[in-house]
């Protein structure tokens, strides 16, 4: 009976879906729009990056003669302004070639703009000649604030434009009209046929306060990681996220959060970041809307990087935890000195790098109580997550976008309990957490993000056995043991000790087979062996660089590197290293 009824429902559903779908008639310009976007991306890859090298020479030259400090929102039409907080003694709104010195999107130099002019003459990327389109593209495609799409105001002259963009706040109840909340005023100046973004300010300024404002550093001034950014307080119980981003690509270089401010208190945040190669970036500050938690205000300004951090590892080198501090190693495993400041929060247990920052767990007791971040060159470390009282962070991962996931294991009285925590999801100070009330099962090693920033893979140890699990950080449900994150992998052929995600998003597992250690690459229907070490050891850490080269450490502190099809190399100079990252 039930089968017949189900069959009937299935047929009704099939008919309804088909009929509904047939009413959907895509526009005829789909392929053209796809090809146009692919073409724009390709042309940026082909000609934008090389000329940035030339652009950086201009910037470096500017720094060499004393740096630059430009009045806020200055352009090629405005008065000369001298930033009162900037390091410069000379400031002007345009460089010698007339390009606005605060300009950063879609071009940061006259050379880049000139290359586009030639293509513009052939009809390429006409949107760059439209200030509203440039402002919208910058907010949506580079800041990735796709909700901020409504142009609520624009003041355009022959040479300048201020475009106010708003966000639609979903209606509080069905049937009511949605409200639009102004988020940011994007400032642009015209250079030849192109409109160039020179900054953005809050659209929430009132007669009593200017909304979110950056006091220091001055727009266009120089700085390097870690960069301290501050501003005046306003409102009550506000909290801002401060990012340092690449100027022309949607790349996050580093971020930090202010504490609560307002109620008369100003705000400040120190952002560790990896400077981009082109020598400049953008400071972006955002605060959430009190109405619904979406973005409420966006402020942005250019920053010029002084120089690459001198203390980063050399090409092909890696970082490792040795003797409780983060040490730099050459490609051959030769120690090159500790990362300054990595011992400031106690003994370091584990280190990863992400988006130009080092993340590490450390603590003064046996339990590494918190997770910190710092610039790859060293400096002061910022606390990014703290374990609950009685717990230690025993594994973690940070996505390229800076999203955290970590596993807490109970120490002392809480021993035997655990939590997998997704701070960016759910509610409350910890976000969403999955309880492991009695260990095992326990997450062994690190949980690792998949490229989508939503799913997390982890090895769940159940006594002598275990399984690879795939968690959906948004769903709130635990995975089933059958949900294997590595198709074809059989735990009976090797127990994982460490897992990681390569820069291209591929999952790698380091396993102990009983006679050797292997690093498996999870791709296709079954994993492939990328590195095999004859020692019957227990993997403690694994890292994979963009070329697929693998770095493996075991619990005894020995380190190997190698690549598929080649022999492993024992890095004997790197001894006593239990956690590694390229």
């Amino acid at each position: 009976m039930s089968d017949d009824r189900d069959h009937l429902i299935e047929q009704r559903l099939r008919d309804a879906l088909s009929a509904t779908a047939d009413n959907v008639q895509p526009g005829g310009d789909g392929l053209m729009r796809i090809q146009q976007r692919i073409g724009e991306r390709r042309s940026q890859q082909r000609w934008l990056r090389p000329v940035l090298v030339a652009g950086s020479v201009v910037v470096v030259a500017a720094i060499a003669v004393g740096g630059v400090a430009i009045a806020r929102h200055g352009g090629n039409n405005g008065s000369v302004g001298v930033g009162d907080k900037g390091p410069s003694t000379t400031a002007k709104p345009v460089s010698d070639d007339g390009f606005p010195t605060q300009g950063f999107f879609p071009f940061a130099t006259a050379t880049e703009e000139s290359a586009w002019e030639q293509q513009f003459a052939n009809g390429h990327s006409p949107w760059i000649s439209d200030p509203t389109a440039v402002a919208t593209s910058w907010v949506q495609n580079y800041l990735k604030q796709s909700d901020v799409s409504d142009v609520s105001n624009q003041a355009i002259t022959a040479t300048t434009a201020d475009v106010t963009l708003s966000r639609k706040i979903p209606s509080a109840s069905h049937g009511t009209t949605s409200a639009y909340s102004p988020v940011t005023v994007v400032h642009l100046v015209k250079f030849n046929n192109a409109w160039i973004v020179t900054g953005a300010s809050s659209a929430q300024a009132t007669s009593s306060h200017g909304g979110l404002t950056i006091s220091s550093p001055a727009p266009g001034s120089t700085g390097n990681s870690p960069l301290t950014v501050d501003g005046p307080g306003y409102g009550a119980d506000e909290r801002a996220t401060i990012e340092v981003r690449d100027a022309e690509t949607p790349t996050l270089l580093g971020q930090a959060s202010t504490g609560m401010f307002g109620n008369g208190n100003s705000w400040s945040a120190t952002v560790p970041f990896q400077p981009s190669d082109d020598g400049f970036g953008v400071i972006v500050a955002t605060v959430p809307s009190a109405a619904d938690g979406g973005v409420g205000e966006i402020v942005a300004q250019k920053v010029v990087f002084t120089q690459a951090s001198p203390a980063a590892v050399t090409a092909g080198g890696f970082y490792g935890v040795q003797g409780g501090v983060i040490e730099r190693f050459s490609a051959g495993g030769t120690p090159q000195g500790p990362v300054t400041g990595s011992d400031s929060h106690g003994t370091v247990a584990e280190v990863h790098d992400s988006a130009g920052s080092l993340y590490f767990t450390a603590g003064t007791s046996r339990c590494p109580s918190a997770l910190y971040s710092m610039a790859i060159g060293g400096g002061s470390a910022t606390t990014v997550a703290a374990a609950d009282a009685g717990y230690a962070i025993t594994g973690f991962d940070v996505s390229p976008a800076g999203r955290l996931v970590y596993f807490e294991s109970g120490c002392g009285p809480q021993a035997g309990k655990g939590k997998l925590v997704f701070p960016a999801f759910g509610h409350g100070p910890q976000g969403r957490a999955i309880d492991f009330p009695s260990l095992p099962p326990v997450v062994g090693g690190d949980p690792v993000w998949e490229p989508d920033g939503v799913h997390v893979d982890a090895f769940v140890r159940t006594g002598m056995q275990g399984y690879l699990a795939r968690y959906d950080a948004t769903s709130g449900t635990d995975p089933q043991p059958s949900t294997n994150a590595c198709p074809g992998y059989d735990v009976n052929n090797g127990m994982p000790g460490a897992i990681t995600t390569a820069p291209d998003g591929t999952l790698y597992i380091a396993v102990q087979t009983g006679t050797s250690m292997q690093v498996l690459r999870c791709a296709g229907n079954r994993p492939t062996v990328e590195l095999s070490v004859s020692k019957n050891g227990t993997p403690s850490s694994v890292s994979v660089d963009p070329s697929g080269k693998v770095l493996l450490a075991d619990v005894d502190g020995e380190v190997w590197s190698g690549k598929a099809g080649g022999l492993e190399t024992a890095l004997t100079s790197a001894s006593g290293v239990t956690s590694v990252t390229w």
Binding site: R12, N23, I38
Partner: protein, 173 residues
């Protein structure tokens, strides 16, 4: 092994995108529209998925992989879009037209609306499984691949979804 020539890679990707577009664009837009109940957003999402596929072509290489990637990308982006808007399908700003299709005249607008309304009330995962199963005609394994869940979970969501749909429609009588 020599590194792949980028111009060849581009050419291969360009051709593949045109082939995939010709064969699957319309059905993918319709799939996204069924998940989103919003035709304009569906087109944007599918175009985003095509651009992402082009970007990842060197990794995908084979058209079958590319179609699976496209489908997974469309489902993920639809889900993300829904979550972003924080609206249920029934509150979507630009609903699809409810006029009956000439080709499917056998099913009345009333009947179709009832089924689609009941479908939109289902939990997200069940809704996705049913749309992929009964509109896209995918196998359990293909659905599992698209949603990144196990075959068993697909079976479970499909069974629960159909049961819930039946209960909902019967309660309307």
């Amino acid at each position: 092994m020599n590194p792949p020539d980028r111009s060849d890679a581009f050419a291969g990707a360009d051709e593949a995108i045109v082939t995939l577009y010709t064969a699957h664009y319309r059905s993918l837009v319709r799939l996204a529209a069924l998940l989103l109940h919003d035709t304009a957003s569906a087109e944007d999402i599918v175009q985003d998925a095509f651009v992402a596929t082009h970007k990842s072509w060197r990794r995908l290489r084979d058209p079958e992989n590319a179609l699976a990637y496209l489908r997974q990308s469309v489902v993920n982006r639809s889900r993300s879009r829904l979550r972003h808007l924080k609206v249920e399908d029934r509150k979507a700003p630009r609903p699809m037209p409810d006029a009956p299709s000439a080709e499917y005249g056998a099913i009345s607008a009333v009947e179709r609306t009832a089924v689609m309304t009941a479908l939109r009330e289902l939990p997200r995962r069940q809704r996705e499984v049913l749309v992929l199963r009964y509109y896209s005609d995918l196998s359990e394994a293909q659905i599992a691949d698209a949603l990144a869940i196990s075959n068993g979970a697909v079976k479970s969501h499909a069974s629960r979804g159909i049961a819930a749909l039946r209960e909902s429609l019967e309660s309307q009588r």
